[in-house]
């Protein structure tokens, strides 16, 4: 039997794109799918995926777990495990459309859940930490089950295939989001499995990533000390956990997180003011194991916004633009023009320079 993702590492070109409406205007998934078409050659058909924010307004107070199951047995085992931990208010198959190019689909189900109140109280955890531990537990210990999306009022949809096919497969034209991110995969280190496609998600954080980080093991060793388990040997997974750790647990700002993972060179820090020097040197010292090296361009999605970031040497491309209340980001300008032919203010963020977009107050 050939090895699955997580069991083997094969030493990526990829494509990323995103669109967000600052006023919270809802968009179907059609445009973000369109954006991936001109970048088709950046992927090789071994992974594509999307994250949509604001797609489950009727269940916005519940964690939406999207889970892949290898078979009925793994589903039963997982549901048995969930039953004591969470209250499931609704569960269903995720509706898909038969699409040429998407095959060998696992069982794909969606559960809207809330922590079981007495179990949550007994755990002495907040609900995010409680759910995060359940997700890690399932992904580590239940063979054949993989939670690939676990946030509130957001969802990740991913598969093996080209992104435009994956988008049609998941019927993204029927969902409405104020923010979409997308990824086309060209896996270089792993064989390419449904769970290993991007976006990677934990709670409401999602990451799409183009690149190949050389700090994977250093980052993994550090982050696993805090209860995370990297099960897939793919670098995007570890970046997702770093984002969750720095933002949710360490309560850093997005700008500060950028200063940790794409830290400025010491030679650049030298030229800053004393106050800036102190802060930047502090981050480089305390979180030295979370410096992400090697090429990356990422888009981090979260409730109410997104952040795009390149590695500090800018070894991958990234273009941003605006159109009305929308901000568009992609690996290539052509992808942006596919969404908005008349996009304005085309810009090219520098390495390590985060682009942070937030919705206006109350827009989500």
């Amino acid at each position: 039997m050939s090895k699955l993702e997580g069991q083997i590492r094969i030493p990526s070109g990829c494509a990323i794109s995103a669109v967000i409406s600052k006023t919270g205007e809802k968009m179907t998934g059609e445009k973000i799918i369109e954006s991936m078409i001109p970048m088709h050659e950046r992927s090789n058909g071994l992974g594509g995926g999307f994250a949509g924010y604001g797609i489950y307004p009727e269940y916005k107070d519940f964690f939406a777990l999207h889970i892949f199951f290898r078979d009925a047995l793994s589903r039963r085992e997982c549901e048995e495990y969930l039953k004591d931990k969470v209250e499931i208010v609704k569960q269903e198959s995720i509706h898909v459309r038969k699409t040429p190019g998407i095959k060998d689909a696992p069982l794909i189900r969606r559960y809207f859940v809330a922590p079981m109140p007495c179990a949550l109280a007994a755990s002495q955890l907040d609900e995010n930490e409680y759910i995060m531990r359940i997700v890690i537990q399932i992904n580590t210990d239940i063979a054949g089950a993989y939670v690939f999306s676990s946030g509130k009022n957001m969802g990740i949809f991913k598969a093996v295939g080209y992104p435009e096919d994956v988008g049609r497969f998941y019927r993204l034209d029927e969902y409405e989001a104020y923010c979409w991110t997308a990824h086309g995969r060209y896996p270089t280190n792993t064989p390419g499995w449904w769970g290993g496609a991007h976006p990677f998600g934990l709670l409401d954080y999602s990451i799409v990533h183009n690149g190949e980080i050389s700090s994977y093991d250093a980052n993994r060793r550090f982050i696993e000390m805090f209860g995370y388990r990297c099960t897939l040997q793919t670098d995007t997974e570890v970046i997702t956990y770093i984002a969750d750790f720095l933002l949710r647990k360490q309560k850093l700002t997005l700008q500060e997180m950028a200063s940790v993972i794409a830290a400025p060179f010491w030679s650049e820090i030298e030229r800053k003011t004393d106050a800036e020097k102190e802060v930047l040197a502090y981050f480089r010292t305390v979180y030295s194991s979370l410096l992400v090296t090697g090429p990356f361009s990422i888009i981090l999605g979260f409730t109410g916004g997104l952040m795009a970031l390149n590695d500090r040497l800018k070894l991958r491309s990234m273009v941003t633009a605006e159109k009305g209340d929308k901000v568009l980001i992609a690996s290539e300008e052509a992808a942006i023009r596919a969404m908005e032919p008349d996009a304005e203010n085309i810009a090219y963020p520098a390495g390590g320079e985060p682009v942070i977009v937030r919705l206006k107050e109350g827009a989500y």
Binding site: E332, I346, Y348
Partner: protein, 242 residues
């Protein structure tokens, strides 16, 4: 005769096949990300483009002229040999990557690593002229050729990003102005351009200004800074004792 190629829905192979069938004037309209346009094509072709051509526009170009009305993406003129590429907008990263000859004229800004590892041999001297500003690592590992940055923008942003000329060991970089706020590695030297230096670039700048309808006289009269490798401080003992 002008051959018009409608690029919408066409992939790069189809477009390049049309271009290779005959010489002459071509207009490719409605480009959206098709890569490698004009790749390897020789003289006798003049290709104009509307829309956004994809990565590696004019890669390995061998004499043809390509002109695009808007922006271009990454790796414009990758390893080009001869010919000319004219970009009326901005370019992405690594324009003129490993370029061996010919010219790239950019009206707007250039991204990171413009002219990375460009080289020259005898009379084959590649030239890149950037009207706006250049991103970081301009002329990284440059082995030959000329890179000229004019900094014609009025947005007060620096003419070049960080770490210019890192690993440079041949060729010349010209920056308009005194490059006062730019820091360079110790293995290169800076000096104000003298008349002999200006004579070396004036032909290229006149061509550039003619193409974009600019007045070359005041540009040529501006002070320029010339950056060349410093042979007194070569790259030694950087990695091993040698």
């Amino acid at each position: 005769m002008m051959n018009t190629i409608n690029a919408s829905g066409a992939d790069s192979t189809e477009i390049n096949q049309r271009l290779s069938q005959e010489d002459g004037e071509f207009f490719i309209e409605g480009c959206l990300g098709q890569r490698f346009l004009g790749a390897g094509m020789g003289g006798g072709k003049h290709i104009r483009i509307s829309g956004i051509p994809g990565n590696a526009l004019g890669a390995y170009l061998n004499g043809a002229e390509i002109e695009t009305q808007g922006n271009a993406q990454d790796a414009v003129g990758d390893t080009m040999n001869a010919g000319r590429i004219i970009i009326h907008g901005n370019v992405g990263d690594t324009a003129g990557y490993a370029m061996r000859g010919g010219k790239i004229f950019i009206r707007g800004n250039a991204g990171y690593r413009t002219g990375v590892h460009m080289k020259e041999y005898q009379r084959h001297i590649p030239v890149i002229v950037i009207g706006g500003r250049a991103g970081s690592f301009l002329g990284e590992y440059q082995a030959g050729g000329l890179i000229i940055v004019l900094g014609l923008n009025e947005d007060e942003k620096p003419i070049v990003g960080g770490f210019p000329c890192t690993g440079m060991y041949g060729g010349k970089v010209f920056l308009r102005g005194d490059a006062r706020h730019v820091s360079f590695p110790p293995q290169v030297t800076l000096r104000p351009a003298e008349q002999g230096d200006i004579d070396e670039i004036s032909g290229h700048l006149n061509d550039y200004c003619r193409v974009f309808g600019l007045d070359s006289s005041w540009i040529l009269a501006s002070p320029f800074t010339v950056i060349t490798p410093n042979s007194k401080n070569p790259y030694k003992q950087m990695y091993v004792t040698n």
